[in-house]
């Protein structure tokens, strides 16, 4: 046999052996998934919810035994059971348990039923937030009612419009077991006694004096009020807030460094969080606010500032920035930051507990466009939980893991630094090393 033929046969044999080895390895199905969607630990929010469970909970999941996608659900259920032994689960194959499937009214894989003390909640393909929502709903039968005011140009909780609507916030409240209702306050319509909290979501104009009186009375009898303010509006409402110890400035807050990269100056990450207040202490990330007005506690003994903008921010009375989205600090007219943009206060009154008032100098953060970004969902839900006295629900929720979605926010200054460091400084440093080496070698002959 010639050498060429021997080499050819050897090469072919090697190639065939390697292809076979690769195919065998591929057939083992061994795979490690390191993507963030496959979490290995429960969030702090889920652990808080599970710690508050005080009755047995049974979870029945109808999954197909041989479907590898079901490993995630099983893994989640195991982690929940490990965190709270009162939660037990069983996984049933739909086709192998037709009687049970009929009993549960289930006819599709992925269906899950959560039961506790005769109450039941059904849903499909659970992730951590939906499972936690179901556990809350079956373990706490009473559903606190949250009212949102209407009639003064407020954002509507049922509105699905992408930029301004509040339908995502509405769903978030329902999932957190609240019942949500709309309320038009006037002299004859007080805030109902069953209201756990009242939301004023960015009113465009002042509520009538009678409505403001009803809000004031509700606060004094121990109610919780969340006010989301947009800039340059509602002076009478601002005066009411001031009487209770929260001052809302009439300026607009801008931040050139913490603004959203490639965005306008009005939309910014708010890095300063008060760790002593549960609402701001339990945010998964700095919130992202847009078109913000200053809000602070008048008296540090009575109230607290929750959120503060960065040192690079400033407050300006120039309202034209609301239209242009850009601005520049003008000495003498504008004031440098940091600026407080959210505050809370407890209002002493004649109720069994003090009223609670929480004001954020922005309503956009909880609208459909921004609710799922940065720490916005936590800020909105934690605020309602705190006002409603549902401290056990306050927490840092897992980021919303829509398929293929993560959040990515950088400021303009950070973006510039990335360019100069990555695309200029690093290659220049390598080139400089090369020049030094060449020079050294020439000198040393």
């Amino acid at each position: 046999m010639s050498r060429w033929l021997a080499t050819l046969i050897g090469t072919l044999a090697c190639a065939v052996a390697l292809v076979c080895a690769q195919r065998l390895a591929a057939r083992t199905g061994w795979r490690v998934d390191l993507t963030p969607e496959r979490r290995s630990v429960l969030s702090a929010h889920a652990r808080g919810i599970l710690a508050a469970v005080d009755a047995p909970v049974s979870v029945t999941a109808f999954l197909r035994a041989d479907d590898p996608r079901n490993r995630d659900i099983e893994d989640l259920l195991r982690r929940v059971r490990a965190a709270q032994p009162l939660v037990q689960f069983r996984i049933l194959d739909l086709n192998r348990n037709p009687a049970l499937a009929r009993e549960f009214g289930v006819d599709a894989y992925g269906a899950v039923a959560v039961e506790s003390d005769g109450r039941r909640r059904d849903f499909a393909n659970p992730d951590e937030p939906t499972l936690m929502a179901a556990i809350i709903q079956v373990t706490r039968p009473a559903r606190p009612r949250v009212y949102a005011t209407a009639g003064n140009g407020e954002r509507r909780l049922g509105d699905r419009e992408r930029r301004n609507g509040f339908s995502a916030a509405n769903i978030a409240l329902i999932n957190e077991r609240y019942e949500v209702g709309e309320l038009r306050l006037d002299a004859d319509t007080p805030v109902p006694d069953d209201a756990a909290a009242l939301i004023l979501a960015g009113p465009e104009r002042d509520p009538p004096p009678a409505a403001l009186q009803q809000i004031d009375a509700y606060l004094r009898r121990g109610g919780g009020v969340l006010v989301l303010l947009d800039p340059a509006r509602t002076p009478a409402l601002v005066a009411l807030l001031q009487r209770h110890g929260i001052i809302a400035g009439d300026e607009i807050v801008l931040d050139s460094d913490r603004r959203l990269f490639a965005g306008d100056y009005l939309t910014m990450l708010v890095p300063g969080r008060n760790p002593a207040q549960p609402v701001s202490a339990n945010l998964s990330a700095p919130p992202l606010l847009s078109a913000v007005r200053p809000v602070r506690a008048a008296d540090a003994d009575a109230g607290v500032d929750l959120l503060t903008t960065s040192e690079s921010s400033w407050r300006t009375p120039d309202r034209s920035v609301l239209a242009t989205g850009v601005g520049e600090l003008v000495a003498g007219r504008d004031s440098r930051g940091p600026v407080a943009v959210a505050a809370s206060v407890e209002v002493a009154g004649d109720g069994p507990r003090p009223g609670r008032l929480l004001v954020v100098g922005d309503a956009d953060f909880a609208a459909n466009l921004l609710l799922d970004y940065a720490g916005n969902r936590d800020l909105f839900l934690n605020a309602v939980d705190w006002l409603a006295g549902e401290e056990a629900l306050i927490g840092s929720r897992p980021p919303r893991q829509l398929p293929g979605v993560n959040q990515l926010f950088i400021s303009a200054a950070q973006g510039e630094r990335i360019f100069w460091l990555g695309a200029v400084a690093q290659p220049a440093a390598v080139l400089l090393c090369g020049l030094l080496v060449v020079a050294y070698r020439r000198r040393s002959g």
Partner: protein, 251 residues
């Protein structure tokens, strides 16, 4: 001379010449610029739309503006001299007289090139480290991406080594390696022009298709075995080329 001594000699040859610094500077300039532009794209156009999470995957594998594509461009420059220069200068004669098997010589050259590639990749960790200062970074899938990049780079280097063994011209070696790697990138592209069976075969052979799961954060046994097998095959073929040159009396 031991394999380690040969490895040291190869590394010294890399770092004593300006080539590796120029290649490194070009590599970082391109990756740095692509990182920045991808970031701008994702932040600007991804805002409010559900496409943001794919940033790291796009930066690692989203040709043509990705780390893996820059690797494809620079590896031929690192491998072109490995054996072609030895043939050209006649130093292969001396090298093959060392008390080392051909396999050890090839392994030392490949390992030296792999170390340079690893060093280049190490420098790009600056990007996730920088973003980590801004917000939490998904380190686990990024680690999987880097494992994939290293395997891809070594596989590129093995292909470059084989082509460098076939010619005495470094330019020919670089251009041929670049062309071959580009073909490996494009082989599974044209779905419309190919019927399913050849397309499946092309997808099986395409290096980038096997790298893409790593870029998503998934480590699959089939992809690991693919890179191992492809690298071993290129090394095996390089050894056969050296052997053939022996017979043809070109030592």
């Amino acid at each position: 001379m031991s394999v380690l001594a040969l490895l040291r000699k190869e590394l010294r040859a890399y770092f004593a010449s300006p080539l590796v610094y120029v290649v490194g500077a070009v590599f970082y300039a391109l990756t740095g610029f692509f990182f920045y532009t991808q970031l701008v794209y994702f932040v600007q156009y991804g805002f409010g739309v559900n496409i943001l999470g794919n940033f790291w995957t796009a930066f690692m594998a989203g040709a043509p503006y990705s780390l893996s594509m820059v690797l494809l461009l620079v590896v031929p420059l690192l491998t072109m001299r490995l054996l072609a220069e030895e043939w050209k200068l006649g130093t292969i004669e001396l090298l093959l007289t060392y008390p080392l098997r051909d396999g050890a010589i090839v392994a030392a050259k490949l390992a030296a090139c792999a170390l340079v590639i690893a060093l280049l990749l190490l420098g790009t960790l600056a990007y996730p480290l920088f973003l980590a200062r801004v917000q939490p970074v998904p380190w686990a899938p990024i680690a999987a991406s880097y494992l994939g990049l290293l395997l891809l780079g070594v596989c590129f280097a093995a292909a470059g080594l084989l082509i460098s063994a076939l010619t005495e011209s470094q330019v020919v070696a670089a251009v041929a390696t670049l062309g071959f790697l580009l073909l490996c990138w494009a082989v599974s592209w044209n779905e419309a022009a190919t019927s399913p069976p050849p397309l499946r075969l092309a997808a099986e052979l395409a290096m980038f298709d096997h790298f893409e799961p790593f870029a998503r954060g998934v480590i699959d046994a089939g992809d690991l075995a693919y890179f191992a097998a492809a690298t071993v095959l290129f090394v095996f073929l390089t050894l056969r080329v050296l052997e053939a040159r022996h017979w043809r009396g070109r030592r």
